[in-house]
């Protein structure tokens, strides 16, 4: 019985060790250098400005709360590279955005189009401002009395 217990505890220890090993930092990035233009500006300042504006409104897909302009993720670098190369080739920011939306859906863009699905997103600020004005009006009239 005690042997069984010892065995059980050593198995527990092994399990713990395995967990610790699994919890170690995983290699989630390649060892290749960043893509061209991932961290290099375009020479033409007008094009760079256009690319930068676009990158600020594209979602990084592996760090979903960030734009690709803000993210250090490798995939965000690859997306910046794609954006800059296509802007450099003379494409408009709008076509680049549209082609990414074709691959990933509206999700990839931080500039959602107006639709039934996104209507609350666009209308909620107006509704909230209206509600706030109504509440403020109530408290102002009370104070006047």
């Amino acid at each position: 019985m005690s042997a069984a217990r010892v065995c059980g505890s050593s198995r527990f220890g092994l399990g713990l060790l395995a967990l610790l090993l699994a919890a170690g930092p995983a290699l989630a990035d390649s060892s290749l250098p960043a893509a061209d233009y991932a961290n290099t500006q375009l020479r033409d300042p007008a094009k760079e400005a256009r690319a930068r504006d676009l990158m600020g409104t594209l979602r990084c897909l592996v760090c979903q709360g960030q734009s690709i302009a803000d993210s250090d993720a490798e995939m965000a670098g690859d997306m910046r590279s794609l954006v800059r190369k296509r802007i450099l080739a003379g494409e408009s920011p709008d076509t680049v955005r549209k082609s990414l939306i074709a691959s990933y859906g509206d999700y990839v863009s931080y500039d959602p189009p107006f639709s039934w699905l996104t209507a609350p997103l666009w209308l909620m600020p107006l509704i909230l401002i209206g509600l706030g004005a109504w509440l403020a009006r109530g408290s102002f009239t009370r104070r006047r009395r």
Binding site: L32, Q64, E74, M75, D78, S81, L82, S103, Y104, G105
Partner: protein, 184 residues
Amino acid sequence: MRRGHEAAGMKRGILWLPLAGFALVLVLIVYALFWPADRTVKSAMVGKPLPAFSVAPMLPGRPGLSNTMFADGTPRLLNIFASWCIPCIAEAPMLLRLKKMGVPIDALAIRDTPVAIRAFLERNGDPYRRIGDDRQSAVQLALGSSGVPETFVIDGKGRIVLQHVGDIREDDIPEILAALEQAK
């Protein structure tokens, strides 16, 4: 008199408003805790033909990959993998099993080098017919894939019929085989 009553009633109603707000937040939290939102990034390309691409071979002696190669009448898998990707190691035996069942598997290697890929295949087995070199993830981005590994089922006309995000596990195989069967 009546108006005063009504106003008092409304005031009492308003008194409950914060509690109602709190209850609403609580319901939202419980919902998000027990039924978390699906954060998988799904490709919008499913159901559409493959985007036009052509990439160089990753290994000498084995062809690279282009979208036109998929329109030869046989459904197959397009696996997106990398030697630096740990779930890809877990997935390797499943891909080998699919290969043994006669499923053709083509691959895109993301941000990789021939040396690393050869070592990866030697260690984990080699289920691939063709391996394309997608050095800067350009094809991956066109496919609407957001990581490694991912697997697309492509029909005989080069149309994407299924996207599997993450490593293929034992219990994913029936779904993939069914999609391949349907794509015939």
